[in-house]
Symmetry: C2
């Protein structure tokens, strides 16, 4: 069965000219969802879909007459102040609204003038977290990241024996997830100085980012009713960029035996736009394991997962220091990689998460884990790029970084691109480190 | 400053006779909150307060005229389908409503007949999780439990070096928390058989309970704004019983390096009634550490915490097997302990949780961690009582248990009792193990 349909046709163009420009993240083949309002206003947040440099206000689109009558309730649900109700409607609903919007936004669409009245320029918008996130789970799907980190902690035994069998994950904090633009005070906490036997309290000295993708659960499952791997993707609404900020010195002292806690839960930043799994269909790839690695257990294996379980999403991290920002120089790229290197697929993560009977709910978020690729310049965190801080990375203006400094902004970007398919972009995910509170 | 006020006076009695019976969990000095409706009905869930064997329906009480006018908006908030809005109102509101209810329920209260029309018998009620739990954090506050568990995994080095410095905690799963009465299928998952190098998939063979207390956050804090230890208790709404079901064989295989995940997130059971911190005031005790242990870092220390940081809550665990249930024999006690043995206080947990800037929200839940006491018969989990399954515990009908079997119900109970103070009970927290799904 082909994953492609008329909405993916590369030749489609829109009557919104900016959607047809080369290099746009948001051509008519993308149509990602966010929750927005006019910046600085006291308007209600509502759902929208990106097209070129515009947003279709779905709460207006539901009423404007440009969509087929059967799709108006879908647009109304997606136009609410969070996407949860739309997410709960399931894959059929998501796909129907995508098709309706694709047809209404194409060049020559009959009711273009009606839909034109539902547009807000992205330049005038601000965004909210697009769903009420009941639970946030962070995975660990890059074998390269797990190995790089393991080498720093356990040189002789970098990769745990469970890694190639278990899609390792743990629960993160929902309350401190914010949308791109988040700024947060450098966390304070307990750390154990090198050689000391007693900890000290103070601002984190080894603050790091982690380049991840976020995966939004659409339809949930009841407790006690696992989702099979063949059904897993029908529960996934879409993906975004995610920065799992990490205080490495706090983490090293606190994480045994129960895992990261205060080292992670002060802030997590996501991009505003959720790119649907359907939009990513042209970029699916076979899922292959390195020769000699064990086959996944049966509940983590399927023909479809082998045929197109992976997704080729290009990713990059940029750092913009305070002085670079003052100079208007833009960010400097720290690394670039692709999601195709992940050791576990989205379907495997969801099947694993529910195999014990755990219930998922619409709006739940998974983090992919740091998406480091096979080579060092593809590493998704400073702790890897700098070998635990020993080899600082240089920045174009002569600065260097072992770990993040106050005023640093980290910008994540993601996109899919190849000949014969439309570019599918994720926009950006930006967050900024503020100085710690005074003692 | 005394923590006691007129609502704690031991001589108070109620015009509801069952509240005056010796041994009741719910005398007029308690007044815990739950969310309930008539069992089997399609009524809306609403907030209520326990008094003897009755529930005061707060949504009705807000309108019946028995409460002072300034307290009616408080009762209306507490009468909603979840307690979050009332929790967010803060300590002043909680205390005002407690005082108003105490006065209205006392013998001789002027408007007793009006309030009598707002009662529902507990025998006729069913309960819901009392708040929308945004985030659930499980702590590890028993040094005895940490040591007992550590001995099984690391005989030479049972207690991690961070234990006496860091109130260890990790994030748990909110979606699978349910109220007393929960029944769940035995989880399935990956485990590594003894001596094997490759895992197998199947039903958990080492299913366990954990005796904990739950701590509900009332007022939250904004991100980046830690709560000081002296202010911490004003953010705590109250406490309940909590069973952190645990699949030990899944846990052993999955938990490194990021902590427990599928071994815990299939089910967590809480008791319906939240006993307020104010109701527990007569049972506060000095918080003392064993001689020779390090003093807590300054952000975890205060005079008030030393003077009355601990709480003397008696706790017990009972097991009722399917055959005991058929025989109507009731449960057999597996162990008993007290919360006064905890190594970290409630105030320390909350101050620690926010010291890095993490924001808490009304309705967030903390688990205390397994509350094992200093001796083996005070252990709060089977893995400790049976030394990892090696020494099964006997049951009165001739059965024995290394770990839980299908049909077993675990019942937690908690209460405070001492001469000169009213008994403050928690009711019970019951959950039942169902057979695993067929392969």
């Amino acid at each position: 069965m082909s994953l492609l349909n008329e909405t993916h046709a590369p030749e489609l163009t829109s009557w919104i000219d900016s959607a047809n420009l080369p290099g746009t993240d948001f051509p008519i083949q993308n149509l990602p969802f966010a929750v927005f309002r006019r910046a600085g206003s006291d308007e209600a947040y509502r759902g929208g879909v990106a097209i070129g440099d515009q947003i279709v206000d779905l709460s207006l689109a539901a009423q404007c007459g440009a969509l087929a009558p059967e799709c108006r309730p879908l647009a109304a649900a997606a136009g609410e102040s969070s996407l949860n109700r739309f997410m709960a409607m399931g894959q059929g609903a998501w796909s129907s609204l995508r098709l309706a919007l694709s047809r209404a936004l194409r060049g020559g669409a009959a009711d273009a003038d009606r839909l034109a009245g539902c547009l807000v320029a992205q330049a005038d918008a601000e965004y909210a977290v697009p769903a009420r996130i009941g639970d946030y789970t962070d995975f660990y799907t890059s074998v390269y990241h797990a190995t790089n980190i393991g080498k720093l902690f356990r040189p002789d035994n970098p990769l745990m024996p469970n890694y190639k069998w278990v899609p390792i994950g743990y629960h993160g904090r929902s309350s401190s997830i914010a949308v791109s633009g988040q700024a947060f005070e450098r966390p304070r906490g307990q750390t154990l100085p090198a050689g000391a036997t007693e900890p000290v309290f103070g601002p984190c000295k080894r603050l790091d980012y982690e380049l991840e993708l976020g995966i939004f659960v659409g339809a949930g499952n009841p407790g006690g009713r696992p989702v099979s791997i063949d059904d897993a993707e029908s529960h996934v609404f879409g993906m975004c960029l995610l920065n799992d900020w990490s205080a490495r010195d706090i983490q090293a002292w606190e994480y045994q035996p129960l895992g990261p806690f205060l080292s992670k839960n002060f802030a997590t930043t996501i991009s505003p736009w959720i790119v649907t799994l359907e939009a990513l269909a042209p970029y699916r790839r076979p899922f292959e394991r390195p020769a000699g690695d064990p086959a996944p257990l049966p509940y983590l294996a399927s023909d479809a997962n082998r045929a197109h379980g992976a997704i080729d999403i290009e990713l990059e991290v940029l750092l913009e220091s305070a002085s670079m920002r003052r100079a208007g120089a833009g960010g400097a790229r720290l690394s670039a990689t692709s999601y195709r290197h992940a050791y576990w697929t989205v379907a495997q993560l969801l099947a694993h998460h529910t195999v014990n009977g755990c219930n998922l709910q619409p709006g739940d978020l998974f983090g992919s884990g740091t998406l480091s690729g096979p080579t060092l310049d593809q590493a998704g965190a400073l702790i890897e790029l700098t070998a635990g801080g020993k080899n600082p990375v240089g920045l174009p203006d002569g600065e260097s970084r072992a770990f993040l400094e106050d005023g640093d902004a980290i910008i994540l970007r993601g996109w899919c691109e190849k000949p014969g398919s439309a570019r599918i972009g994720f926009g950006e995910c930006r967050g900024t480190v503020l100085p710690a509170l005074a003692e």
